[in-house]
């Protein structure tokens, strides 16, 4: 594809808009044209909201003309299709919600509107955010713009691929076990999962309520900070959102890391990790050292190998409770061809949910059922405590921990689709972060076999600034985050 298109960060777009070198309407038209040109191949977008975007862009231009432009004003973005948008279909990648039109906006949507950002579409995802490749979307699979035969990661695969292919300047995703960071790593963008409770979950379709968190997928760390400035903060509509004050996340960004202590936990360099990925990650860590950070190799977090089991007990258990509401009575798909209430419910779920969602509902019910509760659910919750304690102890010594985002480069579409366990293993480095509720970011670290590799940086609760600072400094001396796929 040789069409002329824009490759802008939020901060670059803001400068152009503020200087009136381009209007938001023009910018939005350019991005809509880009979606039209490349999305038939990439398939990142479920619903293009062209008309709505142009209305918003017009309002943004008025705001800019009035000298009231904020950093996100007039900037086109994509939002994962599990966040409610008033009057616009929110499918969650599921047949169950194929025709669901929410009567209200998620808090993050309200906040982005308030900042004047322009929504150009709803991004594809694995059904109910359950998956690591977007292959579980009930509608279609998103392709990795770096190699169309490969997955973009998931579950926020549409958000990540859309930003990488320049179909939007930034995107929002959600992350329950790695669903922002893993696709960010696979598509070479910056993906940030904030501390649990930092961003309101009101209007986010619930998957696993103690793990879910919304965050940005952007071109760089500065953009991530700019989005975080808008979406963070306490929300009376989400009683699990944190009351902690929201700093200006752009303030702490500096070019060196002197005085910073970084630990490298050896358990994250797992068996089965590709040697090329290992090499890229280690090279990136040396770069952090060169920036002045004190790096300590061989840190041990012995509970790490238990995280996969803990996650696949807790997340499906919470999901089985959350998804019980889809019974065909109030909204969503309903099997109506029966007079029997139970048959109606059973068939609604049988035909409305895809295979992975059914699998997790069954796993959750198994782990919570009488006779198994203590052995599975309660046991997992206790090991969850141990994982948290281990992180707490590590953060007494280190400002951050650095790991690979995923043990491999993006895999081929279809390669793992019939093997749930091997699919689950692609999130092995990201799951512990959600279990502990702490923040994690994935930044582009380089390429292995011509495919993107992500570097994960993990911090203690509410240490968002530390993670952004490390990412920003790294991006001042590397140019991996400026590379784009030829789409």
């Amino acid at each position: 594809m040789t069409d002329k298109h824009r490759d802008l960060t939020i901060h670059a777009a803001h400068e152009l808009l503020k200087a009136k070198k381009i209007s938001s309407v023009e910018l939005t038209q350019d991005y809509l044209a880009r979606i039209k040109a490349v999305d038939p191949q990439v398939r990142a977008v479920l619903t293009v909201t062209a008309e709505y975007a142009l209305e918003q862009a017009k309002k943004a231009d008025e705001r800019i003309a009035a000298g009231k432009a904020q950093p996100l004003t007039g900037v086109p973005f994509l939002i994962k299709d599990n966040m409610s948008t008033k009057g616009i279909k929110t499918t969650c990648g599921s047949k169950m919600l194929e025709n669901f039109v929410p009567p209200y906006n998620a808090t993050v949507v309200e906040k982005l509107h308030g900042a004047g950002a322009v929504m150009v579409g709803k991004a594809n995802m694995d059904e109910y955010a359950m998956g690591s490749s977007t292959e579980n979307s009930a509608f279609f699979t998103t392709h990795n713009p770096w190699d169309m035969s490969r997955v973009p990661g998931g579950s926020s695969g549409g958000s990540a691929a859309g930003v990488a292919a320049n179909e939007a300047v930034f995107a929002l995703g959600s992350d329950t076990g790695g669903s922002i960071r893993q696709p960010a790593g696979f598509c070479s963008v910056t993906g940030f999962k904030p501390t649990y409770g930092r961003v309101s979950r009101y209007g986010l379709v619930a998957f696993a309520s103690s793990l879910d968190q919304i965050g940005p997928l952007t071109k760089d760390a500065l953009d991530s900070a700019l989005v975080m400035n808008v979406i963070s903060g306490h929300d009376p509509a989400d009683s699990t959102s944190a009351a902690e004050p929201v700093p200006d996340y752009t303030k702490g960004l500096t070019k060196d890391l002197k005085g910073m202590k970084i630990g490298i936990p050896k358990e994250y360099f797992v068996e089965g990790m590709q040697p090329e990925v290992d090499a890229v990650v280690k090279e990136a860590i040396k770069q952090l050292e060169a920036l002045g950070a004190k790096v300590e190799w061989g840190v041990s977090l012995p509970q790490t190998p238990h995280a996969l089991a803990v996650y696949y007990i807790i997340a499906p258990s919470e999901a089985s409770a959350n998804l019980a509401r889809y019974d065909g009575s109030k909204y969503g798909y309903a099997y109506l061809d029966t007079d029997n209430m139970w048959e109606g419910m059973e068939k609604t779920k049988q035909f409305g949910f895809g295979p992975e969602v059914k699998r997790r509902i069954m796993l959750g019910n198994y782990a919570l059922s009488s006779g198994y509760y203590d052995a599975y659910y309660l046991k997992a919750q206790k090991v969850r405590t141990l994982i948290r304690r281990e992180f707490d102890a590590a953060f007494e010594k280190y400002d951050a921990l650095v790991t690979p985002t995923s043990p491999t480069v993006p895999f081929k579409i279809g390669e793992r689709a019939d093997d749930p366990l091997s699919m689950y293993l692609s999130d092995v480095c990201t799951l512990p972060v959600n279990i502990a509720g702490i923040p994690g970011i994935s930044i582009p670290a380089g390429f292995a076999k011509g495919l993107p590799v992500g570097l994960q940086i993990i911090g203690k609760s509410f240490a968002e600034e530390t993670l952004l600072k490390i990412s920003y400094a790294f991006q001042q001396v590397t140019d991996w985050h400026t590379k784009r796929p030829e789409v």
Binding site: Y196, M341, L363, K382
Partner: protein, 95 residues
């Protein structure tokens, strides 16, 4: 190892979720594989370790009970699969 047909049907029934014969067969194997992976937790000593249900230290978040505007009836019913007048229409619970 495989789960029995009855076990799979039982846990699906707990969720009021129907499954085809092919789905039941597939689940017997796939669920057993995943459950086998959970065995690693048995080796972890969790004596005297309290469970963690959520990662932030919030409990009983209260607010004043102030009435505010609700969604309009039409908005609430707009996505209803079936309705009659201002009500959701369901199959009879008692025959």
């Amino acid at each position: 190892m495989k789960l029995s047909r009855e076990e799979v049907i039982h846990i699906a029934a707990l969720a009021r979720m129907g499954l085809s014969e092919a789905e039941i067969e597939k689940a017997r194997e796939q669920l057993a594989d995943i459950l086998e992976n959970f065995e690693v937790l048995k080796e972890v000593d969790t004596a005297n370790v309290p469970p963690t249900a959520q990662s932030i230290n919030l409990s009983n978040v209260m607010r004043d009970d102030v009435p505010r505007e609700s969604l309009a009836v039409e908005q609430v019913l707009a996505n209803a699969p079936d309705r009659e007048d201002d009500l959701f229409k369901l199959r009879p619970v008692l025959e």
